[in-house]
């Protein structure tokens, strides 16, 4: 609509009836059957009981997923590793694969140096440049759940039973684990025996001697 001119502040040039006609309000009224259309007011929202003190945006939850520990470039499947701590410290061992938890799956092989299929943390391991051919081994069944502790079924104990120490804490390995070890070892030992001296190398333990400087050694 054309701007209304002002004579002075608050005083318009055109009268009320004049602007009514100009705006075409009569036409809108006629179009809607004699009454001016009223816009529907949006339903008043119920007054919330609680108004937070500050206008703070709720934090969106992080969608970041944790990754397994980054594998050092020197550690590849088939690498011979030296264990630095634990029951088998000093043993030279074959690396099989990295599990989803980030731990490394290793095996002695058991026949050669007594180290079973085990998990080990990358920080407690030194990688050597010796590699074993591991392509013939199937590792699909090994994951972190394989190594979970067997849950002991706790039956309801009577008073008497509570005082009897649990003698059923058997430390026997389930048979399927022993069989898995044999299967893996059969393949690996074949690959190892193909390389001269590798078997005795894996059977020997690593140790520091007098005058050894690990910071100058290459492994």
């Amino acid at each position: 609509m054309a701007p209304q001119s002002k004579l002075s502040l608050g005083i318009k040039r055109a009268s009320r009836s004049h602007t009514y006609h100009r705006r075409g309000l009569w036409a809108i009224k006629a179009k809607h059957g004699g009454a001016f259309p009223k816009a529907e007011k949006p339903a008043a929202a119920a007054e919330p009981k609680f108004y937070p003190a500050d206008d703070v945006k709720p934090r969106a939850p992080s969608t970041r997923k944790p990754n397994p520990t980054k594998l050092r470039s020197s550690v590849t499947p088939g690498t011979v590793l030296i264990l630095l701590a634990g029951r088998f410290m000093g043993k030279r061992v074959v690396f099989l694969k990295q599990l989803k938890s980030g731990l490394l799956l290793i095996t002695g092989p058991f026949k050669i140096n007594g180290v079973p299929i085990r998990r080990v943390n990358q920080a407690y391991v030194m990688a050597t440049s010796t590699k074993v051919d591991i392509s013939s081994v199937n590792l699909d069944k090994f994951d972190d759940k394989y190594f979970a502790r067997a849950k002991r079924i706790k039956a309801k104990k009577t008073e008497r039973e509570l005082f009897e120490t649990e003698k059923e804490a058997t430390k026997n390995l389930p048979d399927f684990k022993k069989d898995d070890q044999k299967v893996i070892d059969a393949e690996l030992v074949k690959a190892i025996e193909a390389v001269p001296d590798l078997k005795t190398y894996l059977g020997a333990r690593f140790s520091l001697r007098d005058g050894d400087k690990p910071h100058e050694m290459t492994f």
Partner: protein, 112 residues
């Protein structure tokens, strides 16, 4: 010490000597100890050992957890000076009687 290790004894640690505490002429700061690692003679060689864990092992008259041996764990923090001496922080400060005695510098956490 590992329980009854009857097999081969392997040494997977480097020997170190505890020289004393970090200090100036007349003040000493016992939260940091100085350690001389065998075979390490320059600041550059210390880089390999940064972060490696160390253990000060000592014997006691009384038994705890079934053994007379006890240990204070610590780690190599940084080089000290130019000649291969190393600063170390232990879980609890080392006792003064440790000065001149041996400490074991392990090869883990490894980065090889």
């Amino acid at each position: 010490m590992v329980k009854g290790r009857t097999g081969q004894r392997v040494r997977l640690y480097v020997r170190g000597t505890i020289l004393g505490f970090k200090r100036s002429k007349s003040n000493q700061y016992e939260n940091t100890s100085l350690v001389q690692i065998e075979g390490v003679n320059t600041k550059e060689e210390v880089a390999w050992y940064a972060g490696k864990r160390m253990a000060y092992v000592y014997k006691t008259k009384t038994k705890s957890s079934g053994t007379h041996y006890r240990c204070i764990w610590g780690k190599v923090t940084r080089p000290h000076g130019n000649s291969g001496v190393v600063r170390a922080k232990f879980k609890s400060n080392l006792p003064a009687e440790s000065m001149g005695r041996k400490v074991r510098v392990f090869m883990y956490p490894s980065s090889i």
